[in-house]
C-alpha cells in the first residue's frame, strides 16, 4: 500500500522527507536532537547543581541562588574539608561500612544465586507438594509457639524440625503430586514482589534475639536475601544459553558438577554475571529501608548517615550533603568501569526477554 503522508513539492514536505533509507530528514534531525539535548539538560542540571552547591559557603546558599563558580560566587572547599579532613573519622566509618556490606552481600548473593540458577537449569528437582505443605505448617507452629506462647525459639525450632522430619519420613511416601523446576524458579523470583516492610519486623526481632542488631552480618544477610531473586532471574537465562555439549564432554572426562560449574559454566557466563553483579551492587549500595530498621550506629551505612546528618537542629546542611552525594557516586562509577569490559553488548536484552 503506497501512502505519502505529506505532499513532496511543498517546503514543509521536503523538510520532513528523508534523503534516503536509514537517514533522517532535516526536520526529523531538529526534533531528535532537540529531544536529546533537552533530556540531557534535565538529567545533568540536578547533578551540576549538586556539584556547585558542594563548593558554596552557607551564605551563598541561603541568600538566594547563585549559579556559576568564579562568576557570581567564590568557590570554597569548606564542606569538602569538613567531611574529608576534620570530620574524616565520622565520615569514614559509615563509608567503610557501606563498602564492606555492599561488597560482601553482593558476592554472597552472586555466588548463592548463580549456583541456584544453574541448578535449576541443569538438575531436575521434584520436591513433593505434601512435604512442602508439612514444612510450612511446621514453620507456622513454630512461629505461633515462639510468638504467642513465648516458648524459647531454640526449643521451638528443634521440636518443629523433629516433627517435620518424622512426618516427612512416614507420611512422605504417600504424597504423589510434586512441583517442577519451573515452579521453584517462579517461587524464588516472586520473592521480589514481597515488600521488605512485610518481613522486616520479624527479621528485626530475630536479629534482636540473636543479639545481631546493628551488626554488619545482619545487614549483609538481609541484603543478600532481598537481591537473590534478581540474581536467580537474570543468571537463569545466561546459564540456559550455555551449550550443554561442553558440560557433557567435561563430565565424560570425570569432572564433578562443582568443577564444571566453577571452571566451565561460570567463565562462559561472565558477561551476564558482571552485569548482574553491577546491578545488585548498586541496589545494595543505595539500600535504605532495611538499614533504617536494622542499623543505628555501629553498622550505619551511608544512606542512613545522609538522612541522620540532616535531621539535626541546624536543618539541612546542603553543602556537606552535596559532598556526600558526590563521594557516594564515585565507587559506583569505579565499579562500573571495572565491570564494564565484561559486559558485552546486548546483555540486557538477553536477560529481559519477555
Amino acid at each position: 500500500m503506497q501512502s505519502t503522508p505529506l505532499p513532496k513539492n511543498t517546503v514543509l514536505g521536503r523538510f520532513f522527507e528523508p534523503p534516503g533509507i536509514g537517514k533522517m530528514s532535516p526536520g526529523g534531525k531538529v526534533i531528535v536532537y532537540g529531544v536529546l539535548f533537552s533530556w540531557s539538560a534535565f538529567v545533568l542540571f540536578p547533578l551540576y547543581w549538586v556539584v556547585v552547591t558542594s563548593l558554596k559557603l552557607p551564605i551563598d546558599v541561603n541568600a538566594g541562588p547563585v549559579y556559576l563558580p568564579w562568576v557570581d560566587f567564590t568557590p570554597n572547599l569548606h564542606a569538602w574539608r569538613e567531611l574529608l579532613v576534620t570530620g574524616l573519622g565520622k565520615t569514614m566509618k559509615p563509608y567503610f561500612n557501606s563498602i564492606v556490606i555492599a561488597l560482601l552481600s553482593t558476592s554472597l548473593c552472586a555466588l548463592i544465586g548463580s549456583m541456584a540458577a544453574y541448578a535449576l537449569v541443569r538438575i531436575e528437582y521434584k520436591p513433593k507438594f505434601g512435604t512442602i505443605l508439612l514444612f510450612v505448617l511446621a514453620m507456622v507452629a513454630m512461629a505461633m509457639a515462639v510468638g504467642v506462647a513465648g516458648v524459647d525459639w531454640r526449643l521451638a525450632a528443634a521440636v518443629a524440625g523433629a516433627i517435620f522430619v518424622l512426618l516427612a519420613r512416614t507420611l512422605g511416601r504417600r504424597f504423589k503430586r510434586s512441583v517442577a523446576n519451573g515452579d521453584i524458579l517462579f517461587w524464588m523470583i516472586s520473592q521480589r514482589i514481597l515488600p521488605p516492610v512485610v518481613t522486616i519486623i520479624p527479621v528485626y526481632m530475630m536479629f534482636q534475639n540473636l543479639r545481631m542488631l546493628d551488626t554488619h552480618a545482619a545487614l549483609i544477610l538481609s541484603y543478600t536475601v532481598v537481591n537473590l531473586p534478581i540474581v536467580i532471574w537474570l543468571m537463569y537465562d545466561f546459564f540456559a544459553a550455555v551449550p550443554i555439549e561442553l558440560e557433557e564432554s567435561a563430565q565424560l572426562d570425570g569432572a564433578s558438577r562443582l568443577t564444571i560449574f566453577f571452571e566451565i559454566v561460570l567463565p562462559l557466563a561472565r558477561a551476564g554475571l558482571a552485569a548482574t553483579t553491577l546491578l545488585v551492587l548498586i541496589l545494595a549500595w543505595n539500600e535504605y529501608v532495611l538499614a533504617l530498621f536494622l542499623s543505628t550506629s555501629k553498622a550505619q551505612t551511608m544512606p542512613i548517615l545522609v538522612a541522620a546528618m540532616n535531621a539535626g537542629e541546624k536543618g539541612v546542611l546542603w553543602w556537606t550533603m552535596c559532598v556526600v552525594i558526590i563521594i557516594m557516586i564515585i565507587p559506583v562509577i569505579l565499579m562500573a568501569l571495572v565491570l564494564q569490559r565484561f559486559i558485552a553488548k546486548g546483555v540486557l536484552t538477553g536477560a529481559v526477554k519477555g
Partner: protein
C-alpha cells in the same frame, strides 16, 4: 586426587547447589512472612526484655479499613457525590461485563477465583477513589501509593519509550547520550531526594527568579498535597526513566533492520512502521519492564520520607512509610497489618497483570 570427601561432595552437589538459596529464602522471607501474619492478628506490647503478644483476630485490619485509622489508610470518607456514584457504578458494570465474558469461554476454577479476587480489589479501589478523590476529601496512604505506582509508571514508561525510540535513530554522539541518560541510576535515592528538594525551593533554589517572575515567590511545594505528590513523582521518574530507557533501547536494537527497511520501501509512514513492525517485537520486553517497575514502585519509601516526611499531613505518605511510622510509634501489630495490606494489593495487581497481560500476550505470540 579423588578423596572420600570430594566424592561425598559430588554426590551431594544436587542439594549443595540449591539449598543455600532455599534456606536463605525460608529463614529470611518465608518464616518472617508467617510471623508477620501472626503479628498482624495480634496486639504487641513492649515488655522488659521482650514482647507480649495477644491474639486479637482481625482487629488491626478492621481498624485500618473501617475504624479510627480509616482516614489514614483509605482516606476521609464524607458524603459521596453524584459523580462518585456514577463512577463506582460504571466501574462495577465494566467488571461484571468482564467476568461474564470470561464465563462464556472455557472456565478454569482457579482462573475464576483469581478473576473474582482481582475484580473485587479493583472495585474496592475504584470505590475508595470515588468516595475520597471524586467527593472532594483527602485520599489515604493506599490512594497515594496507587497514585505513585500508576501515574509514575505510566509517565516513566511513556518518556522512557520516547527516548529509546529517539536514541535508536542514526544519531551522532550515541555513546555520550547513553552515558548521560544512564547516570541517574547510579545516584543514591536519598541524594536524589535532597537534590530535588533544593531544586524545587522557591526562594533558594536555582529557579527562584523564575518563580518570583510568575508571582509564586513564596509558594511552598511541600504545603500543597498535589504539588508535593507530583514533585515526588518527578524525582522518582528522574531516577527510573533511565532503567526503562536502557532496557527498551536494547530491545529496539534487536528489531531486525531489514523488516523496518522493507516497511520503508513499501512506503509505510513512521507511525505505521512503529505500530505494525517495531511495537509487536518489543512488546514482551515492554510488559516485563513495566512489571518490574510497578513492583518496585509499590515499595517506594525513601523519596517521600526525605522530601516531605510524608507531609503535608499524610498527603505524600506511601504505605511502606505508613508501616514504618506505625512501627516507630511503636505499634507493631498495626504496622504488620498495614504491610500485609500492601502485600495483598501488590500481589493481586501484579499477578493479575502477569496473568492477564504478559501470559496472554505470550500465548498469542507462540
Amino acid at each position: 586426587m579423588p578423596s572420600v570427601f570430594s566424592e561425598w561432595l559430588d554426590r551431594q552437589s544436587r542439594h549443595l547447589f540449591i539449598m543455600p538459596a532455599v534456606i536463605m529464602i525460608l529463614v529470611f522471607s518465608i518464616f518472617p512472612l508467617i510471623a508477620s501474619a501472626i503479628l498482624a492478628l495480634s496486639r504487641v506490647r513492649l515488655r522488659a526484655g521482650g514482647y507480649k503478644v495477644t491474639f486479637v483476630g482481625f482487629a488491626n485490619f478492621k481498624k485500618q479499613i473501617f475504624g479510627s485509622e480509616q482516614f489514614h489508610f483509605l482516606g476521609t470518607f464524607g458524603s459521596i457525590s453524584l459523580l462518585a456514584w456514577a463512577f463506582t457504578i460504571a466501574v462495577g458494570a465494566l467488571l461484571i461485563w468482564w467476568l461474564l465474558r470470561y464465563l462464556r469461554g472455557p472456565v478454569w476454577w482457579l482462573g475464576l477465583i483469581g478473576r473474582l479476587i482481582a475484580a473485587a480489589v479493583l472495585f474496592g479501589i475504584a470505590f475508595m477513589f470515588a468516595a475520597t478523590l471524586l467527593s472532594g476529601t483527602q485520599i489515604g496512604t493506599l490512594g497515594v501509593t496507587l497514585f505513585y505506582v500508576f501515574v509514575g509508571c505510566t509517565a516513566q514508561f511513556a518518556i522512557g519509550l520516547g527516548l529509546a525510540v529517539v536514541c535508536a535513530q542514526p544519531i551522532r554522539g550515541r555513546t555520550f547520550f547513553r552515558v548521560v541518560f544512564f547516570l541517574p541510576l547510579m545516584i543514591t535515592p536519598i541524594g536524589i531526594g535532597y537534590a530535588f528538594r533544593m531544586l524545587a525551593d522557591t526562594t533558594k533554589g536555582p529557579f527562584a527568579p523564575l518563580w518570583q517572575m510568575v508571582g509564586l515567590g513564596d509558594y511552598a511545594w511541600v504545603t500543597s498535597p498535589w504539588a508535593a505528590r507530583f514533585f515526588i513523582i518527578v524525582a522518582d521518574s528522574w531516577q527510573w526513566i533511565p532503567f526503562i530507557f536502557v532496557v527498551l533501547l536494547a530491545a529496539l536494537e534487536n528489531v531486525p533492520r531489514d523488516m523496518v527497511e522493507a516497511g520503508h520501501v513499501d512506503g509505510a509512514s513512521h507511525s505505521q512502521i512503529f505500530r505494525e513492525i517495531t511495537w509487536p517485537q518489543i512488546a514482551p520486553v515492554a510488559a516485563t519492564v513495566i512489571l518490574i517497575r510497578v513492583i518496585e514502585a509499590f515499595k517506594l519509601v525513601d523519596l517521600p520520607n526525605i522530601m516531605t516526611a510524608g507531609g503535608p499531613g499524610i498527603a505524600t505518605e506511601s504505605m511502606t512509610l505508613h508501616a514504618f511510622f506505625a512501627w516507630r510509634a511503636p505499634d507493631l501489630g498495626q504496622s504488620a497489618a498495614i504491610s500485609y495490606l500492601l502485600l495483598f494489593v501488590t500481589v493481586v495487581l501484579c499477578v493479575s497483570f502477569f496473568n492477564l497481560v504478559i501470559l496472554k500476550h505470550r500465548s498469542a505470540q507462540g
